[in-house]
Amino acid sequence: MTTTAAAPAQVAESAVVPSASDVAALIAEAPVPRPTLLRTFSAMMAREFRVLRRNAVSTFTRAVMQPLLFVFVFAYVFPKIGGGFRLGGTAGGAAAAGSVTFSTILVPGLMASMLLMQGIMAVTFPLVMEFSWQRTIEDRALAPVPIRVLAIQKITAGAVQAFLGACIVFPIVLLVHAPGQGPHVHVTSWPLLIFILAAASLLTSALGLLLGTVMDPRKMQMLFAVILLPATMLGCVYYPWAALHNIRWLQLLILINPMVYMSEGLRAVLTPVLPHMPMWAVLLALVGGTAVFGYLGTRTFTRRVLN
């Protein structure tokens, strides 16, 4: 039954020849294109939002699970079973012993980790796909804008997704905890918070672009082992930087990890009760890192598109 139903459709499908008059109309009625940088850029962003909206549930479910389970186990389960983490009283000095819950440490840390995850998920993975196999990147590369604008657009789109991801994680890490184990969150400056979130989003997205253009698609699993995991575990997500003063070599070594500045920057504006890096260092690293990764990423991107 199904085969007989399908057959006529296939016959019709295989013999589509537009009539001369249709094609003549198609050519005659073609709108005169008036592309400008801004219009093309906006259209490309609109395309990203269309795709994001279509995949929103899966994208954010995937993203939210890790921080959700993390706060659930460490801020709810552990305190309940009597094994709650407490930041040692000697750490950093500013935090009085026993007065700071682990969830306080986790709020900025998990938001930063979300930013990194989203930046890479939103930019690196699709990019590796676009460069491999069918080279679908050529579709966008043929749009009437310079190739570097396409790179900047990808960074922007990735940053928006990372920013949204962090905003979604915020209430989760704020609200999921055992009674009395809530985080001490106090926003010192909303504009500064938003600026840090935005700068960190751009940083991870620019890093995502760079990784996406230099990664060998066959070695994508390495991304987790070599980049995501060390960046997160050694990125002051689960402890403040000042607390590492007992392991001086590690404290200095991880200064090369951009995650550190994202976590510490958010710590400074969200949970000032904890020790944190000076704001100038954070801002310098976030803005400088975005510029460096953005420059390098745009350059390697352009080189890979134009061979």
């Binding site: 295989s14 198609l26 801004l38 061979n307």
Partner: protein
């Protein structure tokens, strides 16, 4: 953000050709890829000129440099030497201007896999500056003409090979390109879909669309193109209309006879081939003899007789009438293989 200068031209009707009168032109265009094993020349200085409204074919086997050439003309491959203009604009100096005036059907399926069929057209239209409403109208119109209206809401990944090709062509036409580039458009399609695609291209051409197509199918170039450039190893070996090419280099019938064993040195002399009327060239090498002649009658018989006189059995024999295949054979001395 700097706005791109809205260059003049692309007014109603006329294809912009620049001062040369060509829709597309190259001058000693070259591309050499750098690799760890040294330089690999892909295109070694080609000169092409395609007039407005012309259907032009680049014909050659895989690796001839066709795709690299099309890559340079569509601004995605940077030339390492020479120059090229599309619609009068230099492809290196003004890639954005060139991209505004061309439509490209890539060899691969470069449809946006995350979007539906209609969205592929709508967003491409918007990339070219059309408003939302214009883009949606244009998409509807293209879907209708290319027989994809009933698939408009399907994801582009769900299309059949033929449908995907039609959508790629439709997408290349959203903004009425001055030149439509098609890189191996029928590679990998079944014969029926291929013929259907040819019909579509013929209709487009009949309506004045300038088309540059690359193909490694002789019959495709012969069936569609007004003029052809035969490429091999990064060079244009000959160019002209199909008839010009056949009258020139490939005017001869090519007869190849392969024997079971190596041929003796005097076989061709014994057969008296060189003295026959119409014979231009006789090649004898290893186990085969190949004759290029304008008067093929009887040649095959002579070769078989001469062979058996020398105690040789014929393994196989082919006789090619003047065609692009004989053009290629005559130009390269090699048989045409895909």
């Amino acid at each position: 953000m700097r706005m791109h200068r809205d260059t003049a031209g692309h007014q109603d009707g006329d294809v912009m050709t620049g001062p040369s009168g060509y829709a597309l032109r190259t001058e000693d265009l070259r591309k050499t890829y750098k690799s760890s094993r040294g330089d690999v020349p892909a295109v070694r200085g080609i000169d092409l000129g395609v007039g407005p409204g012309e259907f032009f074919g680049l014909l050659g086997p895989n690796g001839a440099g066709k795709s690299t050439t099309i890559g340079m003309l569509t601004t995605l491959v940077l030339p390492t030497g020479g120059r090229a203009w599309v619609a009068g604009l230099d492809v290196v100096a003004d890639p954005v201007g060139v991209k505004r005036r061309i439509g490209v059907v890539t060899q691969n399926n470069t449809l946006d896999m995350q979007l539906t069929v209609a969205e592929n057209l709508e967003f491409r239209s918007r990339f070219f500056g059309l408003s939302l409403r214009e883009a949606s109208r244009r998409a509807d119109q293209l879907l209708e003409v290319f027989g994809l209206a009933d698939r408009s809401k399907a994801m582009s990944t769900d299309l059949s090979g033929g449908q995907a090709k039609r959508l790629l062509i439709a997408r290349a036409l959203v903004h009425r390109p001055d030149v439509l580039f098609l890189d191996e458009p029928t590679a990998g399609l079944d014969p029926q879909t291929r013929v259907n695609l040819w019909d579509i291209l013929r209709v487009l051409h009949a309506q004045g669309q300038t088309i540059l197509l690359t193909t490694h199918y002789m019959e495709e170039a012969e069936a569609l193109c007004e003029r052809i450039a035969v490429m091999d190893h990064g060079e244009v070996l000959a160019s002209g209309t199909v008839n010009e090419l056949k009258d020139g280099a490939g005017a001869e019938t090519v007869i190849t006879v392969r024997y079971e064993d190596a041929i003796p040195a005097d076989l061709t002399a014994r057969a008296g081939l060189a003295e026959r009327r119409g014979v231009r060239k006789v090649e004898a090498d290893g186990d085969y003899v190949r004759v290029f002649t304008r008067e093929p009658d009887g040649v095959l018989g002579e070769l078989v007789t001469a062979g058996s006189a020398a105690g040789l059995t014929v393994r196989d024999a082919t006789q090619l009438k003047p065609s692009l295949e004989t053009v290629f054979l005559s130009l390269t001395g090699r048989e045409y293989r895909d």
